[in-house]
Symmetry: C2
Subunit: 290 residues, 2 copies
Amino acid sequence: MGDEGGFPPPGYAVGVVGLGLMGGSLAASLRQAWPQARILGVSRRAETLDWAVGRGWIDDGGTSLPEVLAGVQLAVLATPVRTIIEQVKEADGLLPPGAVLTDVGSTKLEVVAAMSRTGRPDQCVGGHPMCGRESRGLEAAEPDLYRGATWVLCPSRATAPGTVQVVSSLARAVGARPLILDAAEHDAIVARTSHLPYLAASALARAVAEAVPERDLRALSAGGYRDTTRLAASDVSMMLDILLTNRAHVLAGLQALQQQLGKIEQALASGDEPGLAVLLEGARQSRRVP
Amino acid sequence: MGDEGGFPPPGYAVGVVGLGLMGGSLAASLRQAWPQARILGVSRRAETLDWAVGRGWIDDGGTSLPEVLAGVQLAVLATPVRTIIEQVKEADGLLPPGAVLTDVGSTKLEVVAAMSRTGRPDQCVGGHPMCGRESRGLEAAEPDLYRGATWVLCPSRATAPGTVQVVSSLARAVGARPLILDAAEHDAIVARTSHLPYLAASALARAVAEAVPERDLRALSAGGYRDTTRLAASDVSMMLDILLTNRAHVLAGLQALQQQLGKIEQALASGDEPGLAVLLEGARQSRRVP
């Protein structure tokens, strides 16, 4: 991996903007996969940079985009989605000619729209590696985070094939599988597979907590409660960015979920055991895990 | 463990009715913890008995209650809840004087009510070990299933203290922590901590499947979808028994869950970011895992 027809060439510089879970893990993994490249980081906090340099996850970095982006051939925005949308504009004015711009944000339509409005739409492609966890920050980062994950690439109509190729190489270098998908289609799908599970977990955690005192909850819950509510522990500010940049699809998902709960409620309330069995068996069979 | 003041005495016989995940694991664990006791199994299928004898998990057994229960001092019903309710009556006519009757069913009010209607209400106590998994059957059984789990005991007003003591010893012998709780209170709590998570997972799996083709679901879902829907893979016939013997509490939970989803939907639809943040942060903080 990392040596697809000699890509990247010696001295190739990658800038990772945001050294949280996603950015930190990406830098750490690239540092191993692309020894011939320079890996640079951007973090608002100088201590974060020092820590990442100390661990050998980046070669160098800076606390703002201007300090770093002028010298890179590939920039990866790994901040919360609404910050990414702002940084796409800022990066456009800083990157050298020919440099590729991508991101790892969880919603894509608004990011790709912002990329299309830059002066370099051919050199931009949206990205979304389908991995992550509730823990946040560089402390949670690890080089293997991307291994085996699907890394969605969302080109706009203006994106050049060479741009997609560069970011596909990046994805493969860290062990992920690139998958090209329309941004609108991506957002519709992840609204159901990712954002709706988060809201279901959160609503469930609230519905449990309102009726069960904390002491009983600790003693009288098992792995089922723990797993079903796990996503409710996600970072709220990150999730707000995601939900508010994918509002229509998430709202449709919330309505669908309430409809399904209503069907189950109706069958149970009326004692319709065969009907309830059909609903639950359908759920059991429709579940598909990778 | 297993030697609390010499309990059980040599030759003490325990009958485990139903050799699925719960009963099989219990027999296997007891066989190790109580070497001085005889562990007998009841399974409708002779091959299941042979398999369990072959693995050394039971000493002997039979395919019906009459074959086994006349010779035991402790009977544990480990079948689906509505079968347990029937078997409580049947066991009452078979057990020798003084023998203790308990169960491991997931709902308790109807089971304990059935126990109260027997001729030996003082020798009966309901039980619910808070463990398990979606996999079912003896193949999924393992001696460590109960280790660290809370084992709820629900006495009726007629239950003798010595009866609770016997079943507490059983629970401790397999590594669980006995916890005495009123059956109605138990059912209200597990409706939220266990049955509602199952229905949330099932409704979510349906709401995802109705909008996302199977191929996309496999490629574009990550650990969040997998964990949040995990319980939807549970055995439906077992869950029907649980839901239909805890209907009122489960219905109240379903309404509470839909209310919480409605609040989230309302905040997102109106773009009320601070309100949405309060709901999601509340969920994050209310989640309590053992």
